[in-house]
Symmetry: C2
């Protein structure tokens, strides 16, 4: 018997029929003798509808009211899932975030979890009940409803798994697990059976949209093993856990592609100490998330700085940089959006040498030009032209021998529909 926290996203509970299937799945786990806590998102589309109504009434809605509004979506789902379980004869009870004792800071719409008591969930489990918890939401010390921001439901599930000392947390999505590459691009991409937190983080921050990094970081911090698996079949998914030595046998675990970046080149700025600092302080002040950075020298004591930002931050980034023109009259700013970031990730890089060589060699053999390079201990990322990106992924995937039988995992995985179908939640 195990204690399991299961999380179902908006697509998995999208309509009555799918809710019924979730209930049937939960019932099967319980029949096998497990204690089950279910964390659910709002039905797919609901959060966007609520947001649209709010924006129509007020372009800058008050954040406290926004949280009260958005919490509605999950509150509907928990009640419906409980009813569906009752219809199968399974004792079940729903809990809002507040009732589950998810205490957050007062920072509405992007609250951070301070502590989780679990409320009376332990008692309910001992009575043999399934407990359904509203993901994405909590309450602050004043009892006001808060929401956790993007990826919040995954975070709720993993945090509850930690608080309840669950044996495992299962993240049900519409993909089978984490793949060596996007199967739409690489037909022989393979599902990865097990992966370390660090690799998962690098993959997540490199464009693999299965999960937000925030939930993965929380799982890593509290040592919560979790499994990414499909809510449409019963196959095992990908276990994400502490690294084990055997993982290092493989030099590279996966190849990720992020098409959601733009490259900004700031050229002809003075090559003296402090220039880069002023630039990136200006960007940080406007909340722009800078990813890759490359600096090189230009002509006559001038420097060029090239960096990438998420597409949605591009306009703000340009605006933040503009005022520097006053001090750097020769400065030029150019934005390139036809780029993609390709990354290879693997804890094995620590012990395997020659990964970089094989990587750049493979790209060079296919005459794919590398515009930027950035590395971490377990990752190498490059920026390539958008139109060469798919070919680059296939080339690298082949070079590291990641493929299985052709077409093995293709079809079910979909980047667009994966993991986080609704902007503000998981």
């Amino acid at each position: 018997m195990a204690r399991i926290v299961q999380k179902y996203g908006g697509t998995s509970v999208g309509d009555v029929e799918r809710i019924r299937k979730v209930a049937a799945r939960v019932a099967r786990w319980r029949e096998e003798g497990h204690e089950v806590v279910v964390v659910v998102s709002a039905r797919g589309g609901v959060t966007n509808e609520l947001l649209a109504r709010a924006k129509a009434l007020n372009p800058q809605p008050n954040e406290r009211e926004m949280d009260l509004l958005l919490a509605v979506g999950e509150q509907e789902t928990i009640a419906l899932v409980a009813m569906a379980l009752h219809a199968l004869g399974v004792p079940a009870v729903s809990r809002t975030g507040a009732q589950a004792g998810i205490l957050t800071d007062p920072d509405h719409t992007r609250a951070r979890i301070l502590r989780i008591s679990g409320g009376d969930i332990g008692d309910a489990l001992s009575r043999g009940e399934v407990v359904i918890v509203a993901g994405f939401q909590g309450a602050n010390l004043d009892g006001q409803t808060t929401t956790l921001g993007r990826g919040g439901s995954d975070l709720s599930a993993i945090a509850l798994a930690a608080a309840l000392e669950a044996d495992v947390c299962q993240i049900y999505t519409d993909v089978d697990g984490v793949y060596t590459a996007d199967p739409r691009i690489v037909p022989d991409a393979k599902k990865i059976d097990a992966i370390g937190y660090e690799e998962m983080l690098e993959l997540a921050s490199s464009g693999s949209r299965v999960m937000q990094t925030r939930a993965v970081r929380f799982a890593q911090k509290y040592g919560v093993p979790f499994e990414v698996r499909s809510s449409f079949n019963d196959e095992p998914g990908t276990m994400v856990q502490e690294e084990v030595v055997s993982m290092e046998d493989v030099a590279v675990s996966g190849v990720a592609l992020d098409r959601n970046q733009v490259k900004i080149v700031v050229s002809d700025i003075p090559d003296r100490p402090g220039t880069a600092a002023r630039l990136f302080e200006a960007l940080a002040a406007d909340g722009v998330l800078v990813d890759m950075i490359v600096q090189n020298l230009g002509r006559e004591g001038r420097a060029n700085l090239t960096f990438t930002v998420p597409q949605e931050d591009a306009y703000r980034a340009e605006k933040a940089v503009r005022p520097l023109q006053d001090d750097f009259p020769d400065m030029r700013v150019d934005t390139y959006d036809r780029i993609a970031k390709l990354s290879v990730v693997g804890v094995g890089m620590r012990s395997h040498s020659g990964v970089a060589g094989r990587f750049f060699g493979a790209l060079a053999a296919e005459r794919i030009n590398v515009q930027m390079i950035s590395t971490s201990e377990i990752k190498i990322s490059v920026v390539v032209a958008a139109e060469e990106a798919d070919e680059a992924v296939r080339t690298v995937h082949r070079a590291f021998g990641l493929g299985g039988e052709p077409g093995a995992g293709a079809g079910t995985a979909s980047e667009a529909a994966a993991g986080e179908p609704e902007p503000p939640q998981a």
Copy 2:
């Protein structure tokens, strides 16, 4: 300066545009220096959608989960109304039923209000804020969300008005107020300026669907004056208040028609003590609400009992009566659904004699047959054939001189869309 509680039903907050109009109206009252508390229902249609989903998943949904589910509707509206007020520069804050301190018994889906503290509403009003409260919902002593059942939002508003010692409670609906008769049937029906609680109760229980009796009774008990008025114009509506002497100048205030009843005739039962008791105990045990009752003697020591029940209770009523056949083998049960109940109501009946005579005389002159009669101190009700009902209303309305200028109030009032558009709430 007055303290005002305003209640807006599901139709008034049906979409973003209407919510904007509600906000504009609230803002006007506040600009005039009043303290305003706004009680809102779920957007029209939302509650029915939620119910449909629940029923699809479970024909007999758990009532605790049902309350959590239904409370979602009003929670959405309060947040949206608050945002709409902010957009107009009006400081406003929303409160769920629980946050407004609406404490109920634990009887889910039909909870009764035990006590209202008002939470911090008084403080918010002193700070000049408009407070928007979710109608229809409260919380029990365990902090579980409860709902108040049919007519719940009207009740929330009136109960809050009592707790906050408001000067008046305004019930905004899609009708202009209470009319002397349904203007669709009687073109010269007039809006009533003021009416007593008792008359309003009799009208409400006689088929005038402007408000549920429950909220009216609460208003009467705590002496809360309230006004039924339109959310589509700025005309004064109908004040409902303690009776004043001048009201007695008018023998009859209004004529109501209830087409939602069926007549059940139980014939050839023994004419001995206890027979009627057994019959009505059986009905009560099955929760059937019996309205009018007439008993008369048949042949050979047998009796007939005729009673009316709401249409939705007809099947249950017949089922409840059937088992009596074992003891009363000759018993026959016949159901007639082509009937209507017509009532004249007026506190003036207490002091004016001859009301009954004029009433029956007018019907007789038009050869309208009266099938059943029932009276109270301020009401006379009769059952007539459904096809004669409209003519009967016009006849009686004319006989008591209730009409104004022809067509005065017609057009805006609508029985079908009035007051309580959604089954489980106000």
